[in-house]
Subunit: 600 residues, 2 copies
């Protein structure tokens, strides 16, 4: 089957439709090949190469074939087949760029990846390390961005001095590069962590940081683009423009955050008995978050991230068991396909993108800069965080975080979004190479690195979750007053209103709010509550009983939880509530009976 | 939040991106509303309105609001808000048409619907009635197309005579209308059939016919478009052009069929233990069928249909239990969303499409024509079929089939594909109204009609599946020699090669093919086979044991299955194999032990 021959004599529109189909087909075959190889690797327990690395390799190979498969001079020969094939190759090369509008990455491929990341954050470890994660994600990314930006500005100046720079490259371009390349993507590392059951806290730190810093990088880069100093000297520092950029950052970020969280909260479905409807609704609501944010000028990807986190926190509790499984599987497939598509596209882009600018000095400079940027992010911040943490981030954890700073889908998507200028083209090429190198070398080196750093693997989740005296104090230390305040509010008011779990509002609201409370409480919440009061009940289930105890305590000791006893109970309850997602793993009896007998 | 105000001062591209997001958001909210109402209806067991009918109503309402929400003259007022809103409305009206390229329906929305239809055909009843289904689908659709086309040509002539026709309307246009309006879509009826457990044979006839005639209509309409007589008199009959059209029909249909069936056969995945990979692969292969067919100039939708049927037949047996569930659920969600999207878009299109041509004469004529066309399809063909069928298609079944000739997604998609000329615009408007009318009136009237026609409901699948003397002879009668030949070939050679089920090749191939046979037989097939030989085995599973018996019989009595005993056994086995999909419903013991004890 030879496409060009089939195309002869058909209209332009139809031909382009066929070409589109053919291009998509190429990618689908690439993905199929990737899946088959992944299966082979998993089957034979090969761990040195992750599926994303594989996808890139296959993409590279196809790119090479498209580019160099038939020597360029045969195009000028008169042999029909060769020239046709060659013409088709050229056409394909051009069309690959036309077909996949960079916005496709932002509007179709990134949302499921980011949503899935938010939705599958392991809540307990995540909330326990929330402060550190936010520090790394915001402060760390900002540090990394400015360090890389300034170093690259030095490199650019150097290139200018030795005459290697043939186009314009401003300071804002360097900062922009710093922003896009600061988005880490430890998908390879985390897949291996998951497989080896590596330490949960380290996992949470890395995953949380990478998910959040994607959001930070995306907003940071658009703030830098928004930095437009007034007047003639367009590339000098301008305080008002700078503060405007900061304002844009805060505005977009908080807008997207609020929008995502709000939609996540709103989607409390109660369509039990109809898993298909529930799943469809869940999918539509997540997608509408993205669209709503985009329609309002915020960032859809960031909104989707927080929507995922919020839905995992609230909506998840409302779904029927069948639906939780379905939604998880649906997003898993979407995420899997989107991720492998992006990575194989990256492989393909290295050879089929027409405007690459390979500048060895810039590339070497960038590698050094991202190394220094990552180091100045992890080590100083870990030192500062350790001052406040009782459960320190140990040295080997810091080295592992340093090592796990891979670059992936987000850096690529940000770089390909705009490749119009000389500076952007050079950045795109460099980003591509950085992604290849880090995914293959650092991704492949994860398993040896883990053992070299003596990071414990095969952690038994059971043992890891046993409450201990050490853990309680640690939690007390880490969850700052702001977080505790939010937790209490969430627990006593938000959860009962938005989910069936949690204590009924009638027991958490003051008595004068009685009618309102009973109107907002579902029968199922009472049911859960009643089951709890029955000491013989076998049906005691996760959240409900734990939070009930905490709820009761909270009313009596809410403002003044100073008594040592009640304080520690509330900490325990907090700790345990955070476990709720993982408790299917646990033997239930031991942990659940204790607080009830203690208080009733 | 007022979109036009947010849009002010932004670039054109960004504004259009926001508008796109906003449009998509409108649809998603429509779908969300539909889902919530469906849930309410299901919850309260309301049956008179199907979800697709609901989706259309909501679409209509939004269309009315967009069109008439604010009176047109306020646009000329100087009040800022009203004029802005009105300008936004106009913009939205225009953009709704720009955003949804008709090809979106063909390339994105129809494939999952059609694939799901093929994948969920109930095999047993389907194959039992295959001959009748093919007759209705091919001969019936052709009859319907020509009857409607000729009647409409009469209507058009009449309109011309009374001066109601202001544009050109050729005979080929009438035939084209006949083709697109002949595609039935009994989604409403079948949903109700499913819920009420109506007669399985009637269900198979209706479902099979509607699925296959979608494929026929799509190819028929493109053949009619391909009918281009040579010379000056472009709208006279031209024998060579006619035969060329027939050739196009046969070429496209068989090409798509072969391509779909081939891909379906090729996707025999054996990636057990990794349901995610299996599901992703399954999804990709189905999609690649569509793209491959489109890239080669065939019809993707038709290819996807046959791919679905083939995959249900072969690949399904190879998937792990987890994967069968996952793939089913994945395609169920996609199909559900796509279908409701199309129907709500239809509702919206009635008021937002700009070039409607409402011609009362044409519309009334079309209603009468589709009634006559359907009648001349069902009654004469049923009469002819009943001459050959032992299990007759009874009168009440015929009336029900007549009544269930709803028009839906396919007719709409074909009509919206090209709305450039006067004739096509009039057809589009008429098609829309026919879809509305049939879905609401005939769809809503299904339950009363079923009881009025005394069609048995609440059929116990168990009882329905009991093998009986009557059934065996019936099967013998219906499955013609060609089908039996294919069945034997499929059973002894294709199934063992392509799936783990079926008898091992070593027992079906002649002894001189021994080495080849053992090389192609998987260990699992032997396993299934071994389990079978063990009379105490509890692990006996569906297909494997049934087909084994048949397989053995087939070797000894293959060419000359004349002996009454072996003939009837092979019929039983055939019958039972066709049951394999439904046997989860059955108590297994009774049916499965019988043939084994009989032969070993």
């Amino acid at each position: 089957m030879d496409p060009p021959e089939l195309c002869l004599g058909t209209g332009h529109a139809e031909e382009s439709h066929r070409q589109d189909s053919f291009n998509m087909l190429t990618f689908i075959l690439l993905l199929t090949l990737t899946i088959l190889t992944i299966w082979l690797f998993k089957h034979r327990r090969v761990r040195f190469l992750h599926e994303t690395g594989l996808a890139m390799i296959y993409g590279l190979l196809v790119g090479v074939i498209l580019r160099y498969g038939i020597p360029a001079n045969s195009y000028h020969n008169k042999t029909t087949l060769a020239s046709l094939t060659s013409a088709w190759q050229l056409q394909t090369l051009c069309l690959f760029q036309v077909t996949f509008d960079p916005e496709v990455f932002f509007n179709i491929l990134l949302p499921p990846i980011i949503f899935h990341a938010g939705y599958s954050l392991k809540k307990r470890h995540f909330f326990r390390n929330l402060g550190s994660i936010i520090t790394y994600a915001f402060l760390g990314t900002a540090v990394s961005c400015f360090v890389i930006g300034n170093l690259m500005y030095g490199v650019v100046k150097l290139m200018q001095a030795v005459g290697q720079l043939t186009g314009k490259f401003y300071y804002t371009d360097c900062l922009f590069f710093g922003a896009i390349i600061s988005a880490t993507d430890p998908v390879t590392v985390l897949a291996i962590f998951n497989e080896l059951h590596a330490d949960g806290d380290l996992y949470a730190l890395l995953f949380g940081e990478s998910v959040m810093n994607d959001a930070v990088a995306i907003v940071l880069s658009s703030s830098i683009v928004a930095y437009q100093p007034a007047g003639a000297n367009t590339h000098q520092f301008d305080a008002s423009a700078f503060f405007k950029s900061v304002g844009v950052f805060i505005g977009i970020f908080s807008g997207s955050f609020v929008m995502g969280a709000a939609t996540g909260v709103v989607t409390f479905t109660k369509l039990h008995c109809f898993p298909l409807l529930e799943t469809a609704l869940f999918f539509l609501m997540s997608w509408s978050t993205f669209l709503l944010a985009e329609a309002c000028g915020f960032t859809g990807v960031v909104a989707v991230l927080f929507c995922g986190i919020t839905q995992a926190h609230y909506t998840y509790n409302n779904l029927s068991e069948e639906s939780t499984k379905r939604t998880k599987q649906l997003f898993e497939v979407l995420h899997f396909l989107a991720e492998n598509f992006i990575f194989s596209y990256m492989g393909l882009a290295l050879f089929t993108f027409q405007n690459h600018i390979f500048s060895p000095v810039f590339i070497i400079g960038a590698f050094i800069a991202i190394f220094i940027g990552r180091a100045l992010n992890i080590y100083p911040l870990s030192f500062l965080l350790n001052l406040g943490r009782r459960h320190k981030i140990k040295g080997n954890f810091q080295h592992m975080m340093m090592f796990a700073g891979l670059r992936g889908a987000m850096a690529f998507a940000l770089a390909i979004r705009d490749t119009a200028t000389y500076a952007r083209q050079m950045m795109f090429t460099t980003t591509l190479l950085i992604v290849f190198f880090t995914v293959w070398v650092f991704g492949g080196g994860t398993t040896p690195m883990l053992s070299w750093l003596h990071i414990r693997v095969d952690v038994d989740p059971d043992q890891d979750l046993q409450p201990s005296a050490d853990r309680q104090s640690k939690t007390k230390q880490e969850s700052a007053w702001l977080f505790r305040l939010w937790y209490t509010f969430d627990h006593n008011y938000l959860k009962p209103i938005l989910t069936h779990s949690g204590p009924p509002l009638t027991s958490t609201l003051p008595s004068y709010c009685g009618p309102l409370a009973s109107c907002l409480t579902t029968p199922r919440a009472y049911e859960n509550h009643e089951q709890l009061r029955d000491p013989d009940s076998d049906l005691i289930r996760g959240d409900a009983d734990l939070t009930f105890t905490f709820g009761d305590t909270a009313i009596t000791a809410n403002g003044a939880a100073n008594g040592k006893r009640s304080g520690s109970t509330s900490e325990e309850a907090l700790e345990r509530e955070l476990d709720s997602r993982e408790q299917e793993l646990l033997s239930r009896g031991t942990r659940l009976v204790f607080p009830i007998e203690d208080h009733i």
